[in-house]
Symmetry: none
Subunit: 354 residues, 2 copies
């Protein structure tokens, strides 16, 4: 079942049975080098997570290392959920957006849109993103892009992405730091807060919006703010598949629209996350969405691993991992195409069999 | 399984696995105000049945009152069946035809074609329908409409619609009154007959076909006769999803074609109803279809609630409700897309859980 966080169920229901293009936005921020900031991947190899997630989503294989990405606690990547849905009720198309990966995925036959973007730097030392340039690339792509299916699901794989999103939202002047989620159950608040504080210190006195976010955000946020604005005149619906990072992206869009003195036509835009984010006591996605000046439909997919007793999967229900690789939106897609919780659970379990 | 009432199974089989656009034709006739004439809805609120049926089909929610429409005997709307199929094997698209509703449905994102048609009057006092105008609107819509999917399933929600269809078929000169179905097990023949007799008395001496049916039919019949004729040159197949009302619609088409001295190309047209209508001892859908001058494939979906012991659902098997909201055609769609009787039953039961 799909549950409404904000707005009404109609946006989601109008997509029932329709095929979607799944766009996966991939980027690396060197912020992952700060020890203990994320568990979205294998320590020392976290910069590879977007590469591995995209390989696994597209082919069911991880190619750039030997094994599927799990965290030190053994939580497997949420790409398992997205891939499970894709096996049972395939997306019409999967396309990748290379927004600055450390290593491109080893894939043939899949469209990977390349924009010659490099990984961004650690935000505590200044991310050094050409924010306006990246935003404009996003706008141009949004205007030009024609999805081959009825609508778009936009997911992301950006390790440490909640830290950069949180810093960015602070930099934009929203009072929202405590509302951000983490891939950890017990969010590593001291490290995150310190990193964010350091990042914000670096932009003290900087007035320009793009200059500010260019120092503390990540490529995914800046490019996709452009993508959303570039797409906004079109009739193609876009589902932002993610949690507080995607809410942060919407706040960036909100600030840019304010800055430009415009108004966003958000009727064809929605957000869908997982139950783990929606029910997370340590973050507040609804609080983030309430800060927006425009209305937006937001949902979560009522899926958990209650039907499984696999210890690695139960960690999700205990609050680890929570979201990523568009898991929440992918689950919505599965549910809108007649998949049961049982079927999804069995498929995910199968990936973990030795 | 899909069973053939007339013609061959080939029409149905040629649609196996294909996506359909589900068009739901909605209208209110004030004939429902005659006490005891229908049980298609909540007494006093029967004029809202098309509104509630369309809300529930599209979103799973009833919005214009608190609870799902059940009859005084507790028979739930056949919209449950159509919605169950849509959840398990989604239609490609659902679109609504507002052919004169008392209250429009509260829906966003769903296409509701509006034709500025008002509810028709009680047929015992003269329905006052601009029959030719409505028919011509239907023709124009049929010519212009491009279904976004491989074929069209046309369902209806028109309370008291078997009474108006029966009166209309009489008015057209067919000897068929006893062949019409009812939403009751024990059809309220005295009230229906009296209403129909009164309606026919009002058109004694009237010669013109459109003038006659304009006084005794309903908007759904007149508009859709036009829709069928307007679509008849096209390659898109249309499944009339309904029972004796849809057979009545075909008889109206038959009479109009005779009147105009033409010939209907009916190769792309079929009818599909429920088992409850097909096996109803108090009506005779096959008898009605035999009155047509053109050949037509007609089916029923071999589905009943034998696998359920829910008392409200068993009432269907005892002959209450029978058909509506395109249930027969929706079941055919489900069966043609691999659904089992078991799966449909379990989904319908789930709606009725407290």
């Amino acid at each position: 079942m799909i549950k409404t966080l904000q707005g009404s169920i109609d946006f989601a229901e109008s997509l029932r049975g329709k095929r979607a293009t799944f766009l996966l936005a991939l980027s690396t921020t060197k912020t992952v080098e700060i020890e203990g900031i994320t568990q979205a991947g294998i320590p020392e190899l976290i910069h590879l997570t977007p590469t591995l997630d995209s390989e696994f989503l597209c082919t069911g294989e991880v190619r750039s290392i030997d094994n599927i990405a799990t965290t030190p606690k053994g939580v497997p990547t949420p790409a398992l959920l997205t891939r499970a849905v894709h096996l049972l009720r395939p997306f019409g198309t999967i396309e990748l957006l290379n927004l600055g990966m450390a290593t491109p995925p080893k894939l043939d036959y899949f469209t990977c849109h390349d924009f010659a973007i490099t990984p961004s730097e650690r935000i505590d030392r200044g991310a050094q993103i050409d924010a306006l340039g990246l935003f404009e690339q996003g706008v141009a792509f949004g205007k030009a892009y024609e999805a081959p299916d009825a609508y778009i699901i936009l997911g992301e794989s950006v390790p440490a992405g909640t830290t950069t999103a949180s810093a960015m939202v602070e930099a934009l002047g929203y009072d929202a730091q405590a509302m951000f989620s983490s891939s950890f159950r017990e969010a590593p608040n001291a490290i995150k807060e310190q990193t964010i504080a350091q990042a914000l210190k670096g932009i003290e006195g900087v007035e320009d919006l793009f200059e500010r976010v260019g120092a503390v955000a990540d490529n995914m946020l800046l490019f996709n703010a452009g993508f959303i604005l570039g797409s906004s005149g079109k009739s193609t619906k876009i589902v932002l598949a993610g949690g507080t990072q995607m809410a942060g992206l919407l706040l960036l869009v909100n600030s840019i629209v304010r800055y430009m003195g415009g108004k966003l036509e958000s009727h064809n835009l929605a957000l869908c996350t997982t139950k783990w984010v929606a029910e997370d006591s340590q973050s507040d996605i609804q609080g983030l969405l309430r800060l927006l000046d425009f209305p937006i439909n937001a949902y979560y997919s009522d899926f958990d691993f209650a039907l499984s007793d696999h210890p690695a999967l139960k960690l999700y229900d205990e609050g680890e991992a929570k979201e990523g690789v568009g898991a929440g939106g992918a689950l919505m897609y599965g549910l809108l195409n007649g998949l049961s919780k049982e079927a999804i659970t069995r498929q995910v379990e199968q990936f973990l069999r030795p």
